[in-house]
Amino acid sequence: MTLHVAVDRDVCISAGRCLATAPDVFDQDDEEGLALVVRQPTGDEEKLVRKAEYLCPAAAIHLSN
């Protein structure tokens, strides 16, 4: 079962830890500077995405199976 990632833009504070950690999965938009999910992670990226979730200061990253 692969991991499903969602970002809560209402609580995101643009810290950018997700984009720095898993750049193929996360990005930030230009207008608000908030995180967005570019695409769902592959199996190989699971560890990086879990790390991004851990580093997010605003608990904006939600993972589900």
Partner: protein
């Protein structure tokens, strides 16, 4: 039971915790300490517990609250107690933060790299031209963050010199010089903001005028307050992290050699520097606006709360050999930029400045070394940013 130990304490080495912190860490992850004015405060020294308390809804940044801890005399001032964002709780904090987020996001900051590289090259040219011994504080660590934030805010080029001089005096001057320089910066920002409102230019201040002042979201005073906090927050922390980071690398030649072997290790090395050096010592001063249960302790409404970055970053519960400086460490996690909604707005700009400056310095001057033993470098900063006043180097 022994009395609550004093906190903060003065470092004797710019990058190592004071001797007295060992015992405080051992009594953690949550304990009481005595502040310089004799009052008591809770302090969180555990890494996990720091993350927990910094995201607790009852932790408040309201510096006007009578229970708010004052950790050093300079934090008694009206300016320090009313800083935009830093001294605010939601919902106002969150509104301001959203105004600024797009201008400090990682994506936005990455666009600033070529400009910062150009600025740094100019500073390194000047260092080479000066010849050894050259003082990296006055030639790099102070002017770099000053110039970068000036350009980002949109300070006219003709005022850069005043800006650098005044910000240098705020940081390095005597008490009186520092207060006079701070006032001159506030006066300057008042006038600059009025100019920008009348005639907005391309920088961040002009952009905020177009995006937020002309729309009626904020007025002149709020924009001055934001400009001031961006300026203060950008300078001292970045400047000191750069200086202390360079010293730490020079004092750990095996680690510097690993870095020079593969300069692509620099971003990871910078995370380890941020962890190890913990430039601000305290990453949070707060007051409880309701009760907080943490690690078996009951923090009551109105109690003062501190978070020690120095100790949380070296928590042995999360880091193996936490007191070892290891740039290849797999997860150099730290709370140097804080955690929760107040986590540093400028963190990505700070990282970029550190990276560009260290890369240029160590690749152009690979034989760089201290011109004085580290024990002879003058240091300052109990309860505030840890600073060295002078950093003479040879190559």
């Amino acid at each position: 039971m022994s009395a609550a130990p004093p906190y903060p304490q003065k470092r004797t080495c710019p990058y190592e915790p004071p001797e007295g912190y060992r015992a405080i860490g051992e009594q953690g992850p949550v304990l009481k300490v005595t502040l310089y004015d004799g009052r008591e405060s809770w302090i969180v020294t555990g890494y996990k517990e720091s993350r927990e308390i910094l995201t607790h809804p009852n932790l408040s940044s309201q510096r006007t609250h009578p229970g708010f801890p004052i950790v050093a005399p300079r934090f008694k001032s009206g300016i320090a107690r009313s800083l935009a964002l830093i001294a605010m709780d939601p919902p106002v904090h969150d509104t301001y933060r959203r105004y600024l987020n797009p201008h400090f996001s990682l994506r936005q900051v990455r666009k600033m790299r070529p400009e910062i590289e150009q600025v740094v090259d100019g500073f390194v040219d000047k260092i080479v031209e000066t010849g050894p011994p050259a003082d990296l504080i006055s030639l790099l660590a102070i002017p770099l963050p000053s110039l970068v934030i000036c350009r980002h805010l949109g300070v006219p080029f003709s005022d850069h010199e005043f800006f650098q001089d005044a910000s240098g005096k705020v940081m390095l001057g005597t008490g009186e010089e520092s207060a006079t320089a701070a006032q001159s910066l506030v006066d300057y920002l008042e006038a600059l903001t009025a100019d920008q409102i009348a005639n907005p230019t391309d920088g961040l201040l002009g952009t905020l005028v177009r995006e937020r002042v002309q729309t009626g979201d904020m007025g002149h005073d709020e924009l001055v307050s934001i400009a001031l906090v961006l300026l203060i927050a950008a300078h001292e922390t970045t400047s000191s992290s750069l200086a202390l980071g360079i010293i730490t690398l020079l004092e750990h030649p095996d680690q510097l050699a690993l870095l020079l072997d593969d300069i692509d290790r620099l971003p990871a090395a910078i995370e380890e520097i941020l962890r190890f050096v913990a430039t601000t010592d305290l990453v949070a001063t707060r007051v409880a606006k309701g009760d907080i249960e943490i690690a078996g302790h009951h923090i009551r409404e109105g109690d003062a709360v501190l978070v020690s970055g120095t100790l949380a970053n070296r928590d042995t519960a999360v880091h193996n050999e936490a007191d070892t400086f290891d740039i290849l460490r797999e997860d150099p996690h730290h709370v140097t930029f804080g955690f929760g909604i107040h986590q540093c707005l400028g963190q990505n700009l700070a990282r970029l400045e550190l990276e560009v400056a260290m890369k240029a310095l160590f690749t152009r001057l690979p034989k760089l070394r201290l011109a004085k033993p580290v024990s002879e470098l003058p240091i300052l900063g109990s309860g505030t940013v840890q600073r060295v006043l002078e950093l003479p180097v040879e190559w």
